[in-house]
Structures are given as structure tokens and as C-alpha cells.
């Protein structure tokens, strides 16, 4: 599938950027004319990935969050959210519903939300180096991009 449009956004890991990032990516995805539900699915999944960078990747420090989004020829939106934070030792375990390393106010549902709201979720991570989460969703909007 060819890429017809792409955007990049780099923000600091401040929690105020959670809404900025999800709104920006969903505004970019809106060019595919998705349904209201599809757009809010994308927005919610991006919010999960970005929040994880802020809460987990950079727990007590400021770091950069690198967000990339692309529109593909088959009406797919691809979003990659990357950090240079602590990394995840066991990705399969981290992705299990209800698994969390921060019990208390966290439900352990972020990855479950991403997996159920998007068509695919891919995670690459190295301890001490960082994590990249790639999300894809094909939307049922118009076909001429």
C-alpha cells in the first residue's frame, strides 16, 4: 500500500499534551472522512499510546514523544507513537488485559483499548532504549483520499 499523506509531531511528555496529540492525529485522519465512531476509536487509541509514554516510559523525567501518522491508498490510517524511555521487558505480558505495573489508579486497559479499537497494534521495545507502538485502522470513508 502506498502512502499518500504523512505528518510528524514531536511533543514533550507533559500530560497536557495528551489531548493535543489525540486531537491533532484525529484532525489529520479526518481527511479520510471516517465515521464519528471510527474517528473516536482512533482518538482513544492514540490517547492510550501517548499516555503510556508519559506515565510509563518517562516516569520521573521529561522526554520526547515522536508521533507519526500516514494515510495509505486503501483508506488506512497508520499511527506510530514512539518514545526513548525505559522500554518494556515483556511485551506479551504488558499487552495482556488488566496487566499493569502501576496498580492504583491504572486499570491496565490501554493496550486492550488499542487492540479492540484499531485493526492492528504492533509493539517494538527495548529495555533502556524505548518503545514504538504502531496502530492501523482502515476506515470506511470516501475512496478518493
Amino acid at each position: 500500500m502506498k502512502i499518500i499523506n504523512e505528518m510528524r509531531l514531536e511533543v514533550e511528555s507533559r500530560s497536557v499534551n495528551e489531548s493535543f496529540a489525540r486531537v491533532t492525529v484525529s484532525a489529520f485522519a479526518a481527511q479520510l472522512d471516517p465515521t464519528v465512531e471510527e474517528l473516536s476509536d482512533i482518538k482513544t487509541a492514540v490517547s492510550e499510546a501517548v499516555t503510556n509514554c508519559i506515565v510509563h516510559a518517562y516516569p520521573n523525567v521529561m522526554g520526547k514523544i515522536y508521533i507519526y501518522a500516514a494515510i495509505l491508498t486503501d483508506n488506512t490510517v497508520r499511527v506510530r507513537v514512539r518514545d526513548r524511555g525505559c522500554g518494556i521487558a515483556n511485551v506479551a505480558q504488558a499487552m495482556e488485559p488488566l496487566f499493569t505495573t502501576l496498580a492504583g489508579e491504572r486499570a491496565g486497559l490501554g493496550f486492550a483499548v488499542m487492540e479492540s479499537f484499531m485493526d492492528s497494534v504492533k509493539v517494538r521495545s527495548r529495555v533502556g532504549r524505548g518503545t514504538a507502538v504502531t496502530l492501523e485502522k482502515k476506515v470506511s470513508g470516501k475512496t478518493d483520499g
Binding site: S40, K43, T44, S47, T51, P97, G104, E105, A107, G110
Partner: protein
Amino acid sequence: MPVKINTNSGKTIAYLSGEIDHHNAWPLREAIDNELRRLRPGTLRMDFGGVSFMDSSGVGLVMGRYKTLSAYGGRLELMNVPAQIYKVMKLSGIEKIAKIYRKDVNKGEDNQ
């Protein structure tokens, strides 16, 4: 503060508004917990009618309040839950611990 709270005859109602994410959840939690600690109501009703977005941080908010309530036998009700939020809640199993009333579905009825 994006929450209005009042308590009447053992029932606390928290009218939430705006977007509930990790950034916004903290003041909501503090305000609700304050009321629960002070008055120990038999029922807490969280009203999502004015909430335009919620992610898993909102689930954490609900689960945390449930823990506080259930420690002394209180009940939890979730009212006017919009579609996007209901979708997130469904993944969490919240409906096993609280009654969920959806927004704009069979208005005024129990539509759990």
C-alpha cells in the same frame, strides 16, 4: 473544576464534564474522594452526560471510586454514559460492579 458534586439523603451525585484522561482525572478523583470521605454516602452516582471523551484513565477513576465505596458497602451507579465511553467501559468489565445507564438510549428507562 469539571465536576459538580452534591449529596442528598445518602446519595452523592457527581456531574462530570469535559474530557477524562490521565491529565484531567486527578482533580476529579480528589473532589469525589473528598466527598466520600466526609459523608460516606450509600450510593455514588457518576453522571457522564457532560463528558465528551474518556480513555482508560477514566476506567481507573471509576474502579478506584468503587474500591473506596465497596470498602464500607456503598454502591456505584454510572449515568448518561455516551457511546464512546460505553465502548471503553465494556472492555473493562465495569458493568459487573456498577449499574450503567447509557445516554440517549431508551431515555429514562433502565437500559443496562
